[in-house]
Symmetry: C2
DNA sequence: GCAATAGTGTCTTTTAGACACTATCTG
DNA sequence: CAGATAGTGTCTAAAAGACACTATTGC
C-alpha cells in the first residue's frame, strides 16, 4: 500500500482561504486581517489556514474552523469559489489553496476590537498578500454575477426581512438600481419567499410585512437586472 | 524557513480529475477509462493524475498533461469545476482532487483503439470509482446550467460553424428544444458571432453561412431556454 | 394633516414564441 | 422542378420598466 502513495516530499502545501463578505453602511465589505507572521508579515490578507488532515473531514470543515476563529461565526452560508495553485504563490513551497466565499449578515460577525481584523469596502482595497487580490476580484465577480439570477444575496439578510430590505440587498450586491415594482412582482411570482404573518417594527412610518425564504422551493430567478 | 512549512506527513494527496465531454451521435458523451491498478482496479473512472510539483506550474498544467495523455488533445477549452476532499474518498490517504470540465469537438479526440478508454452516453453511466459519480453529476449540472446563459456550448464546435450547428449544440447541451427563429434572432442580436464570408459545403441542399465566435466580445447571453 | 415608506394598477416597451413564407442549393 | 435546408417577416404572448396612485403608520 505504501508504494501507492505519492512520495511525501512531492506533496504541496494545502490551505483554505475565506472571502467573508457582508453588507455594512449600505456597501459590500470584506473581512481582511493583517498577517502577524512571515510570509507577508504586516500585509493585509484574506483569512485562511492549513487543512488539518487529522481532524478535518474536508475543506468545508477547514472553512468552518476559519470562520469561527477569524470571524466568530458558525452556520453561515459559504460556497467554494475556486482553487489556486502553483510554485510561486506562496514563497514557502508549491501550494494549493481552496478559496471560498462566505456571505453573512453583519450582526452575526464577532470581530472583537483587534485593529488587525477589519471590514473593508470592496471598492477601496489595500494591496493584499499572496495572490489574494486576484482571488478577491474573482469572488466579487462571482457574487455580482450570481446575484443577478439566484437567491444568493438573501444570505446577507436575517431569517425574516421586508421586501424593501431584500430589494436594497440586491441593489447593493449587483451595484445598480433595480426598478421597485418589477422587483417586487418578480420576487412574488417566482415564489422565492413567503409571508411570516408578522410586520416590521419601525417608528414613524407604515410597517411592512415580514417574509422568510421558502424552503425547498425555487431558488432560481432570472432578470433581476439586465446584464449588458 | 523550514519551520514555516507544514510537516510533510500532514499533507494530503493532491490530484486533478478531468470530466472530458463531447457531442457524438447527437448526444453528450463523457470520456471514461477502466482503472488498470488499485485502488478500484477494473472500475470505470474519470481520467486523472497526480500533480507533479517539480514540473507543473499549477493545476491547469496538470490538466493539460492529462488531456494529452488520456485523450490525445491539447489547446481545448476547460475550466475548474470544484475541489473534492476528505479522508475517505481515496483509500490510500486523505486526498484532494481539483476536478475540471473540458469540452471538446469529437474530431479532435485521439482515443486509439484501447477498449479501456471509451466515450459513454451521459445518460447511461456505469458505476464509477472514488466519488466520481458525484463529480460527474455536478459537472453535468454545471454544463446544462451554464449553457443556458453563456457561450459555453460553442466549445463543442469547430472554429467555424453554421447557425444550424450552433442551434443543435445548444439543444443537445440543454437537453430541450429551442425555437429556431428566436434562437437565431438572439444569437445575432447579442453579437456573439460574426460571418466568415464563407459557406458550408453540403450536398443536396442550400449551403449556409459560416460563422466564427467574435473575439473579445459579448460572451453573455440570456434566455436561450427558460429555466423553471 | 404631514412625512415617510408600503403596497397596487396599469400603460408602454421589450423580448420570446409561433409559424408561414421566401430563397438557394443539388440531383 | 422536387426535395431539403437556409433564412426572413410578422403576429401574438409574456415579461420588464415607468410611473402615478392609494394605504398605513407615528407624530
Amino acid at each position: 500500500m505504501t508504494q501507492d502513495k505519492t512520495p511525501q516530499e512531492a506533496r504541496p502545501i494545502m490551505t483554505v482561504d475565506a472571502v467573508i463578505v457582508t453588507i455594512a453602511d449600505d456597501t459590500l465589505k470584506v473581512l481582511l486581517h493583517r498577517r502577524p507572521r512571515e510570509p507577508f508579515q504586516g500585509s493585509w490578507a484574506l483569512p485562511g489556514g492549513y487543512i488539518h488532515v487529522n481532524e478535518d473531514s474536508g475543506t468545508d470543515a477547514a472553512m468552518e474552523r476559519i470562520l469561527q476563529e477569524k470571524a466568530g461565526v458558525s452556520d453561515i452560508y459559504f460556497e467554494q469559489l475556486a482553487t489556486y495553485s502553483g510554485p510561486d504563490r506562496d514563497p514557502r513551497d508549491w501550494s494549493v489553496s481552496v478559496a471560498h466565499i462566505a456571505l453573512v449578515q453583519e450582526d452575526l460577525l464577532s470581530l472583537g476590537d483587534d485593529p488587525d481584523v477589519v471590514l473593508t469596502d470592496v471598492d477601496a482595497l489595500p494591496p493584499l498578500a499572496f495572490d489574494h487580490e486576484n482571488i478577491l476580484a474573482e469572488a466579487l465577480a462571482r457574487i455580482r454575477g450570481k446575484g443577478a439570477y439566484s437567491s444568493l444575496p438573501t444570505a446577507f439578510l436575517p431569517k425574516t426581512f421586508t421586501l424593501a430590505q431584500l430589494h436594497r440587498v440586491y441593489e447593493i450586491t449587483l451595484g445598480e438600481t433595480i426598478e421597485r415594482v418589477s422587483f417586487r412582482r418578480k420576487i412574488m411570482e417566482v415564489g422565492m419567499v413567503e409571508e411570516t404573518g408578522q410586520k416590521s417594527t419601525v417608528m414613524s412610518r407604515r410597517p411592512a410585512k415580514l417574509f422568510r425564504m421558502k424552503v425547498g422551493s425555487q431558488t432560481y430567478v432570472r432578470n433581476f437586472a439586465t446584464a449588458g
